[in-house]
């Protein structure tokens, strides 16, 4: 069995966590089917995944790209992501986001084999950047914390895909790092939101009275994960977004500007939600609504351990990014993208 066929088989298996009793998420399953079909087509045509795109059947390339786009959940297929975060179990949404086969395949074909998509690649890059801006804009207007985290996830993945499609070495490098970092801070944000939902019996939103005094550790965790999502200096989000932007903005100023706006809107959205959910919406007298729970609602020790581990990695690699950068440098140094831009023969 070829490597491409193995990948197709594994991608097909990746729908298992998405299929659960009573509720099936259709869009990513259809996307995964397209992705697997495209990979099988490539394998049957005798064109390995890591060969130049010109050798591959156009239909197979289109299926792989469309499948990856749907599986990742970019505009116009973004609708399932916030719903997944809002209504499904944490593990299901987290797995669908952090271990996304569509993203893995895009990373492979757009960096290592440097599929030259020509004008289509530039269009995909701009659409991905607009998708991120749109998701960040919708995130600001959300009244439900879990749904807002879902839109933040779409904004992050859109920036990653824009960086990959830019065909710039630094952009691709930053995109891979951002994929790693966003998996951590989006999971953290979602877990805090789910924890609060489990305690209150309803999804936290703008109608929730401020709970920061009753759950100070949960509030602090949400703020720190939110800062990482906003690319605050000292976090892994800052390092990855800086690299991504540096790679994109020089040769693609419009896309770079869209990414900057997406980051700014994400920061506004995260801080707005933090203050509204944890400090409450101001009432008519200008004071936040009080909340006096009858039972303790702050984080349990095991939750503190989980969030602490995520935060150590996010802030540790934000302050000292050298270990992550040295591991990932070998990707771009050996990629077809690097050889193309430096004029070397791979």
């Amino acid at each position: 069995m070829q490597r491409t066929e193995l990948l197709a088989l594994l991608a097909a298996l990746s729908v298992l966590p998405l299929a659960s009793r009573g509720r099936v998420v259709v869009l990513p399953i259809v996307g995964t089917a397209f992705l697997s079909a495209g990979l099988f087509w490539l394998a049957r045509a005798g064109v390995p995944l890591f060969r130049p795109r010109e050798l591959a059947p156009p239909g197979a390339v289109a299926l792989v790209l469309l499948g990856a786009w749907m599986r990742i959940g970019l505009f116009p297929f973004h609708g399932y992501v916030p719903v997944l975060f809002e209504r499904s179990h944490p593990s299901k949404a987290a797995v669908a986001f952090v271990a996304n086969p569509g993203m893995l395949i895009l990373m492979r074909v757009l960096t290592e084999s440097a599929w030259d998509l020509g004008i289509s690649g530039k269009v995909l890059m701009v659409v991905a950047a607009i998708s991120g801006l749109y998701a960040a804009f919708l995130c600001i207007g959300q009244s439900d914390l879990l749904r807002a985290v879902g839109f933040q996830a779409v904004a992050s993945t859109s920036m990653i895909v824009a960086g990959l499609c830019s065909r710039e070495e630094a952009g691709a490098f930053g995109a891979i790092l951002h994929a790693t970092g966003s998996g951590l801070f989006v999971t953290g944000l979602a877990l805090v939101a789910w924890g609060v939902k489990a305690r209150l019996g309803t999804s936290p939103g703008t109608a929730t009275p401020g709970i920061a005094s009753a759950a100070p550790h949960a509030a602090a965790a949400f703020l720190l994960f939110g800062l990482a999502a906003a690319g605050f200096p000292g976090t892994l989000g800052f390092v990855s977004e800086e690299l991504l932007l540096h790679g994109v903005i020089e040769h693609h100023p419009v896309t770079g500007t869209l990414i900057v706006l997406t980051t700014a809107l994400s920061a506004i959205a995260m801080l707005r939600l933090f203050f509204l959910v944890f400090y409450g919406a101001p009432n008519t007298r200008g004071r936040s609504a009080a909340f006096a729970p009858t039972v303790p609602i702050d984080l349990f020790p095991r939750e503190k351990l989980a969030f602490g581990a995520l935060l150590v990695v996010i802030f540790g690699l934000g302050v000292m990014p050298a270990p992550a950068l040295s591991i990932l440098h070998s990707v771009t140094d050996n990629s077809a993208l690097h050889h193309q831009q430096s004029g070397e023969t791979p």
Partner: protein, 105 residues
Amino acid sequence: MSTHFVGLSIGVLFVGAITLRRINERTNVARWAALLSVIAFGLVTTSALSHLFQVGQSTQSTHDPISLALSWAATLALVSVSLASPRADLTAERISRSFALVALF
């Protein structure tokens, strides 16, 4: 070699899924079983995918960096979900399903 690793991964998938489904009734056991299974499976699949993508590359490093970075991030995220999820029994069930997806990495 990579085929063997992928075969091992898929084997662990089904054994882990069946085991976790059997012990769902005891939530604490389920939580810790989910946690340990995720860590073990993350290690196995990191090797599997690294070897899968390593074939044909010019780099001489032992592991494929993309597989390494993404599988570590995914494993850490799933470990956090195992620890912090409000419903341990559901977490065990969902993570047992997710083994196939983690296998991709």
